[in-house]
Amino acid sequence: MKNLLALLTILTLSLAACQAQPAETDPVEDVELYVFAAASLTETFEEIGKLFEAANPGVKVIFTFDSSGTLKTQIEEGAIADVFVSAAQKQINELEAGNAANTAGLDFVLAGSRVNVVENKVTLAVPTGNPANVQSFAELASDTVSIIALGNADVPVGQYSEELLTNLGIWEQIQPKITFGSNVKEVTTWVSEGVADCGIVYKTDAFSAGLEVVDEAGSDLLKTPVVYPGAVMKTSQNPTVAQAFLDFLRSAEGQTVLTSVGFSIPD
């Protein structure tokens, strides 16, 4: 059933993308590059996309931003993606053939293309004026905090949040106060709208949304490094251009944009 669904999805999407498929032999002519990227990369990638298009006339970059978990599921179901940049190793692990985490036997990652793109920090952000006067992760358990916005278990930032709050020993206790969002942008919006007293988001999201950050998770609370891997998908019709995009992310131009919002560059 799942295969039939995948087949139908591919057929439908292929028909839709039909006009966008140029001949393989002529890569410069009117290429549409589909980039799936974690929601926290929205602002930076859109800027990078324009720079890439300027440097490569004839190429049009089409982004899909959502939680990495959603994007991984969509790729699995057959969505057309040339490049996938995830907010955690987990999602690309699950798509990579031979990877220990890949229990479903999927094979979507083009060998040799996987690379670490950026590193982020997990922070505690509050609305303007910090109405609940939250100062640290530990305070989430206190009575002064009523509503905490987190990503759900499918969202990398949600996974990071659970890890650090479990390490703090307060995860079970604060359950009734948590409202789960389906991607980091939803969580960020809940905080900026003030409907949550605080939320755990990436440093870069807090920066882009103009939110005040009151605490940052160090390596003692968060063992897993918050590294964003990227890879070219095996199903890509334009692997050369896709690789060029990944390279552009790691170039000086790309890195300038990324670091400007708070990402750091991993080795």
Binding site: A149, N152, D154, Q175, P176, T179, F180, S182, W190, E193
Partner: protein, 228 residues
């Protein structure tokens, strides 16, 4: 299995339906008597939530009732109560999206109501409110009931605006629809199926109710037969 979403969804839908029942009927009855241009404009405004995506509705509601809004901050200061991120926040969302269904159905029912019946009641000395409750509503019973059931069904199935304004907190604000979504997102297919089946069962009951109401001999058909 945690059955909170079922109980929460039902109470939200029930309360929303009661609110919609009275406001929808009142709006439909008052507007049916207005001059045509004004009636047309009000119609469009009141039907808008039906055609707007629920996320647009959710957006407006957040801006209207959130803690930074005039209304939201006022309630927060005076009553120390939050209007959003609570289970009852979903009532606002459900009322707004389901209201047009009750309103349009009731309007249709009232438009096809014979005005002579109302006039007759008046000349016989019946006060207008009595005419409404004893003659208009019983005669338009079919349409009103159908509108009510439709509104209930819509309120029960509300997702987009509800998710934005109530968030998702299991055991506190979760509804059937937001629960199914989150269960699917976290790969919990088995439990998601349970909720889907529950929802289908409720929908079945709702639709069967509508059908049985329409099948019975309606007063409207009686009037038509009378005039032959």
């Amino acid at each position: 299995m945690d059955w909170f979403p079922l109980w929460n969804s039902l109470r939200i839908a029930a309360i929303s339906t009661i609110v919609i029942f009275f406001t929808g009927i009142y709006a439909a009855w008052s507007i049916a008597k207005l001059p045509r241009v004004l009636k047309g404009i009000l119609d469009v405004i009141l039907t808008l939530p039906l055609v707007l995506p629920p996320t647009v509705v959710g957006f407006f509601l957040l801006k209207l009732l959130g803690p930074y809004s005039m209304i939201g901050s006022f309630i927060l200061e005076t009553a120390n109560t939050r209007l959003v991120m609570e289970w009852y926040s979903a009532i606002f969302a459900s009322v707004v999206v389901a209201f047009p269904l009750m309103y349009r159905t009731a309007r249709g029912a009232f438009e096809s109501f014979d005005p002579d019946l109302h006039s007759a009641g008046q000349t016989l000395g019946m006060p207008n409110w009595k005419i409404f409750w004893k003659i208009v509503l019983p005669t338009t019973r079919q349409g009103i009931l159908a509108g009510t059931v439709l509104a209930f069904a819509r309120a029960l199935g509300e997702y987009g605006a509800t998710s934005m304004i109530s968030g998702y907190t299991p055991g506190r604000t979760a509804t059937i629809s937001t629960t199914v979504y989150q269960l699917w997102r976290t790969g919990n297919d088995a439990e998601a199926y349970m909720w889907v089946l529950t929802n289908v069962a409720i929908s079945f009951v709702v639709l069967l109710t509508i059908n049985s109401l329409e099948a019975r001999q309606s007063p409207k058909r009686a009037i038509q037969e009378m005039e032959r």
